[in-house]
Amino acid sequence: MKKPQRLNLSELNLGPVKRPYVVLMLEIIGRGLEAASQVDEKIRREVERLPPGFMFEMRVLPNGPRMVMEKTEQGQLQYLGRQAPRTPDVSLKFKHLTHAFLVFSFQEGTAQAFANDRLLLDGDIGYSMKLVRCLNRMESMILPKFVAQRALKRYPTLSLPEKLLGGSRIYSRLAKNLVWN
């Protein structure tokens, strides 16, 4: 019997879908972080230690897709969309659309992307590390384990109820936010 072949994304012609996919993923990350900062205790604790009005962006150089977020007066993260009202305090910049696609299609973990010089970090390092932890936590909660394991250095120890409950809280908050906004 012929062994089933594992899907290799690099062999597919994904050129035309890269941009819309990255745009969509940045929106999902922005909305997901917004929701997670409202319901997940660990992410809330990280956001608490960011300064009031703190603003950050993830973007693709030179003028590619972009996602901007800000810390609200209520101490949560708010997704601002693609425009920043001022220069963000921290900027995570992918050097090229393909590099963002590699990360967002979970072919390359976030830390590996930094190690491979795909990502530039501009701004306060301490705040940036908090953001990276928030992203990691959100990914571990909302993604299936086999996908999150590709994105993270180490998948955290999460009980099934913790994972299901935490993930569903974030998803339901995300849905509510989408409806209200």
């Binding site: 930094f114 190690a115 501009d122 301490g126 955290p156």
Partner: protein, 394 residues
């Protein structure tokens, strides 16, 4: 392990060896510079090291237009702006940093201001803000540890905002690093040991962390070999010029390695310890190195095992079974630390520093998580992990 993608860059000319200082006038002339300013500190001046540099210029028919010798250990934007003003007043056209990390970072800051014809250093903080080459800039290291002579980063205190401003640009790399054994010949034993262990840690982390690549690996392995072979002989015979040069070269090679491969958890913990308890950077590196290697063993057993060769030599490497090489490499580092503790009282544990309270460990762990180098550590680290390592290092 093959790395799917990497970058490597080091355009710094290395001018190294006997009478290296005497090459400076010619090297400056190739960059169309003839009116250098020297930036240094009181310690370098008091140790008489500047005389070697001035002698090289006098015999080379080139005048040192200005010497600023008052860079403090923890430099600031104010100091940088003062020096830049002096540079302009005296009509200098190039910079020579003579010293350690603080002098070199200060000089990089000065070069930004005088090249951009600006007065506020803070305006250039960040990644890639500089867009054009700066003035000719040489570095003469007087310690063998920081590797700042080949790094593209500078960190300068902003006393007004109370923050450390980072500057990252390829244009901050010096045109040349001058490694002359005369410049490190009089280093006291404990500083020689501390700075060598700083360089050792740069090389070990470059070789074992996530951004390792084949070219920086070559520099890292060579640096580790040079330190392992020369540190104790130099402590035995401090005026050993050849050994001093080997340590200086090792420091530069380790600097080239880590500026391309980054560093990991030893630095995250070490930066935090240095900031909270005001301990020298090299001491912190020496303290945490084996504990972090043990923590990283599950992910990096093979890479750490490979380091047994430069650490202990071919014979020991050959007779150690492959499965035991990583543990043997860590034991060798522990053995070197024991020897340095016996000779120079270089602390191996947090308790031995006499400057850390056990109650500070949670704060240290928290600070380490916010350090950028933790991103490149091969094993994920959370608060409990960091605290557990600190407890082991107690």
């Amino acid at each position: 392990m093959t790395k799917s993608y990497y970058e490597f860059f080091c355009p710094v000319k290395i001018v190294a060896g006997h009478a290296a200082l005497e090459h400076i006038p010619y090297e400056l002339s190739t960059l169309a510079a003839s009116r250098p300013m020297i930036i240094t500190d009181k310690g370098v001046r008091a140790a008489g090291l500047l005389e070697h540099v001035q002698g090289a210029f006098a015999e080379g028919d080139m005048e040192v237009v200005e010497i600023f010798d008052d860079v403090p250990p923890d430099s600031s934007t104010t100091v940088v702006e003062t020096i830049a003003e002096l540079y302009r007043e005296r009509g200098c056209d190039s910079l020579i940093a003579v010293g350690g990390g603080s002098v070199i970072d200060t000089s990089k800051g000065v070069n930004i201001l005088v090249s951009e014809n600006a007065s506020r250093l803070a305006d250039f903080s960040g990644v890639g803000v500089l867009k054009k080459p700066l003035k000719p800039f040489f570095v003469i290291p007087t310690t063998a540890g920081t590797g700042s002579e080949v790094t593209l980063v500078a960190v300068v205190n902003d006393p007004v905002k109370g923050v450390k401003l980072p500057f990252t640009s390829y244009f901050l790399l010096p045109n040349a690093a001058i490694l002359d054994p005369r410049m490190t010949l009089t280093l006291p034993a404990h500083i020689t040991a501390m700075t060598a262990m700083d360089a050792m840690t740069h090389a070990v982390e470059a070789f074992t962390c996530m951004a390792k690549n084949p070219i920086s690996d070559a520099y890292a392995v060579s640096a580790i070999g040079k330190i392992s072979s020369n540190l104790i002989p130099v402590l035995n015979k401090p005026d050993d010029e050849a050994g001093r040069l080997e340590l200086a070269q090792a420091s530069t090679m380790a600097g080239i390695a880590f500026s391309n491969s980054m560093v990991g958890l030893v630095h995250s913990l070490g930066h935090s310890l240095g900031a909270l308890c005001h301990l020298p950077h090299g001491l912190c590196m020496n303290l945490f190195l084996p504990y972090v290697l043990e923590y990283n063993l599950p992910q990096r057993r093979e890479a750490i095992g490979e380091l047994l060769l430069p650490l202990a030599g071919a014979e020991i490497y050959a007779r150690t079974p492959a499965a035991q090489r990583a543990d043997a490499a860590i034991s060798t580092i522990r053995g070197l630390r024991d020897e340095l503790h016996r000779r120079c009282q270089l602390p191996r544990t947090l308790a031995e520093t006499g400057k850390v309270n056990r109650e500070q460990l949670p704060k240290l762990a928290e600070m380490a998580l916010d350090d950028g180098s933790i991103l490149f550590n091969p094993v994920e680290v959370d608060l409990d992990d960091a605290l557990a390592i600190l407890e082991r290092a107690w």
